[in-house]
């Protein structure tokens, strides 16, 4: 468990917004080199690892995908006064103000600021300020000094250090940025690091640009043409706060185990794979939950439409406050995700792939 926590820490603290996943890729590559038979990086930057299975052929070809990219920002203008204009399409505007950011791989530190309240015009003191109203201050004296450190088009992410919130083995929680989907990446690395080989040929894809349109996964699935595909994710968890007398319909709950997708905006999970995960959970005594249908999208949404179609499903660790500066997850949920997928890879058969 400490290994998984340590891996998650390193992944979480690495810089990797959509389109600039280089550092995450290098970290993961170093982790899995030597544990897989082949490693490739494709045109979009997806890291695709192949690990041959054992046992009689023909073996099923299974693709597991976890995305390396996190939601981020881009510098759109350097103002005369040395502040920076930026865009933040995937981040709720209410999460922006006063947050610390780091820009580019050197990690130039900055803060997201608003004009001081008494200088704000009209109603802007009372409404939510979005990226157009805000600016990033890197402490530069003016435009010239700012330009020496950052450029138009530079990427930025939240600047959040990973921290352990609880070491209680019954409720081991951690906090950090980019759990969506460094949690999935950690799980996938853990699945490759096990000692017991699988009875399937495994393609582990650490994908790019999921957050901007499932783009990396789309091309990986076309290239690999698997028999089945799983997306390993970090997903929405809105279990807190909850007034006691209200209809309680959280999307997922921390501590209830990995959340299996029935249906989201990108995918209706394949019934055979759903049955596989249910049976695996029952047979191995793992607690699982089902994500409330209808929300979000994952790499599985792109993978299942590749070529003639691919049976696909998504399963995720619940993460509170995803797409924000500091998410929280329960390491038991993450560990159970690893165990669930491991068990599924050892049980999957042609019966799970038919309709």
């Amino acid at each position: 468990m400490t290994d998984l926590r340590d891996l998650l820490k390193r992944l979480s603290e690495t810089f990797g917004p959509s389109g600039n996943e280089k550092a995450v890729r290098a970290l993961i590559r170093a982790e899995i080199e030597g544990r897989v038979d082949r490693l490739e990086v494709d045109a979009l930057g997806n890291l695709i690892a192949f690990k041959a299975g054992i046992g009689p052929e023909p073996r099923l070809k299974v693709l597991l995908a976890a995305h390396m990219d996190e939601v981020g920002f881009m510098i759109t203008k350097i103002n005369k006064d040395g502040t920076l204009a930026f865009s933040a399409p995937s981040v709720d505007a209410r999460l922006l103000l006063a947050k610390r950011v780091r820009i580019g791989e050197p990690g130039v530190p900055g803060v997201i600021c608003a004009p001081v309240p008494h200088l704000q015009k009209g109603d802007s003191a009372h409404r939510v300020l979005d990226a157009d109203d805000l600016f990033i201050d890197i402490g530069a004296a003016d435009e010239k000094f700012a330009s020496a450190k950052v450029t138009l088009g530079d990427y930025a992410t939240f600047a959040t250090s990973f921290s352990v919130l609880s070491e209680d083995p019954a409720w081991p929680t951690v906090r950090g940025k980019a759990f969506d989907d460094r949690a999935g990446c950690a799980a996938l690395v853990a699945l490759l690091a096990g000692d017991e080989a699988y009875p399937v040929d495994l393609y582990a894809a650490f994908t790019v640009q999921e957050e901007v349109g499932l783009r990396g996964a789309r091309v990986v699935a076309h290239r690999v043409a698997p028999d089945a595909a799983f997306a390993l994710e970090g997903t929405i968890c809105d279990d807190l706060p909850r007034p006691p007398d209200e209809d309680s319909t959280p999307v997922t709950r921390v501590g209830d185990g990995p959340a299996i997708t029935l249906m989201d905006r990108s995918l209706v999970s394949h019934p055979g794979l759903l049955a596989l995960l249910k049976e695996t959970a029952e047979e191995t005594g793992l607690a699982v939950q089902y994500k409330a249908p209808g929300l979000g999208g994952t790499d599985a949404g792109a993978m299942h439409l590749a070529r003639e179609g691919v049976p696909a499903i998504a399963v995720a660790t619940p993460c509170r406050y995803i797409h924000g500066p500091a998410a929280i997850l329960n390491l038991n949920d993450l560990q159970t995700l690893v165990s669930l997928v491991d068990g599924a890879l050892r049980r999957i058969g042609p019966a799970n792939l038919s309709r």
Partner: protein, 334 residues
């Protein structure tokens, strides 16, 4: 054809959960074609080999319908839901629904919403099966329901929540029946697609697998003949099969459309030209598979689409069958 329509309309098949309608359609077509297969998206692909020298023609009608998926069952047995496909919040209150296992329910409105003053949203609704406690309810999170009842007819008019696109499925089954023992050159790939209402998804993978020389989707379209129809539209109920000039997803292949118009005129089949501003069909997905496919759609005019009681005129359905029949009996040179 009306009995066929009733049978298809009453079969359950919400997007992603098309097992029942697929098995009904399989029974209908298996003796009319040379080969049937089901792919990983659940599409039913029925292949009727031609006598040779013809084209590989893909005909697609989607067998899925819009529906509701249970997201939460409360202590009293009321079920909250998410939409599967586009559901009008406005058209849901009081709607009767039926689950895959036959359980019936009514869509109720949350008492906190004053319907006289605000427009409810889908999350303000719940499904009520008449239970008074959770223990009486067999449905779990993930259960799917569709509007009900399935089918009624009156003169030339058919009423059903899922004429979009069971009417198109009727066309393809009837076509295969009419072509029984008829020699045509072309290989027909008759595909009853899945998940059109949430994509189109099934048509995309089926199009990739089949690699047709041309494709025609059969679906419903809106009409411009209701009071204050907005936007204005030439298509009207009972005026014949509509040929897709353009919709919000695609522009119909001009050469293919010209051939279809020619066939309609030479056979005296009533037809109309369709420009649809809100909506698209499976043809949109098939057109851009692989290196591209000449594609268009033939549409059955329908009023009140995506509400619990859509309407079509069965003469328009018959005209669609006849046009395809005439078109496929001759050579197709694009």
């Amino acid at each position: 054809m009306e009995q066929l329509a009733k049978r298809l309309a009453e079969a359950f098949g919400v997007s992603g959960f098309e097992e029942e309608i697929r098995s009904v359609l399989l029974e209908e077509v298996k003796d009319l074609v040379d080969e049937v297969r089901v792919d990983s998206l659940g599409n039913l692909i029925a292949v009727r080999k031609g006598s040779g020298g013809g084209k590989r023609v893909m005909l697609a009608a989607h067998m899925d319908q819009i529906g509701l998926m249970v997201t939460y069952v409360d202590e009293k047995g009321f079920m909250r839901f998410a939409n599967v496909g586009y559901i009008y919040a406005l058209a849901s209150w009081g709607g009767q629904v039926r689950f895959a296992d036959g359980t019936l329910g009514t869509v109720g409105l949350d008492g906190r919403v004053k319907a006289g003053r605000t427009l409810p949203e889908l999350r303000d609704y719940y499904i009520d099966t008449g239970a008074t406690s959770k223990a009486e309810v067999t449905q779990k999170v993930g259960a799917v329901a569709a509007f009900w009842p399935g089918f009624a007819s009156q003169g030339n008019t058919w009423f059903s929540p899922n004429l979009d696109d069971r009417a198109g499925c009727v066309v393809l089954v009837q076509l295969l029946r009419d072509l029984k023992d008829v020699k045509i050159d072309h290989d027909l790939y008759v595909v009853f697609t899945t998940q059109e209402e949430i994509g189109p998804r099934g048509a995309q993978t089926a199009g990739y697998a089949i690699e047709p020389d041309l494709a025609i989707a059969i679906d419903v379209t809106l009409t411009g003949d209701i009071p204050y129809a907005s936007p204005a539209m030439e298509v009207g109920l009972g005026k014949g099969v509509a040929i897709k000039v353009q919709d919000s997803g695609m522009i119909g292949h001009a050469g293919l459309n010209a051939k279809l118009i020619g066939a309609a005129e030479s056979a005296g089949i009533p037809y109309q030209l369709e420009v649809l501003q809100g909506g698209t069909t499976d043809a949109y997905a098939i057109q851009v598979t692989r290196a591209g496919v000449p594609a268009t759609a033939l549409s059955i005019p329908s009023r009140h689409v995506h509400t619990p009681s859509q309407i079509v005129d069965q003469r328009d359905v018959a005209a669609t069958v006849r046009l395809l029949d005439v078109f496929l009996r001759g050579p197709i040179d694009l």
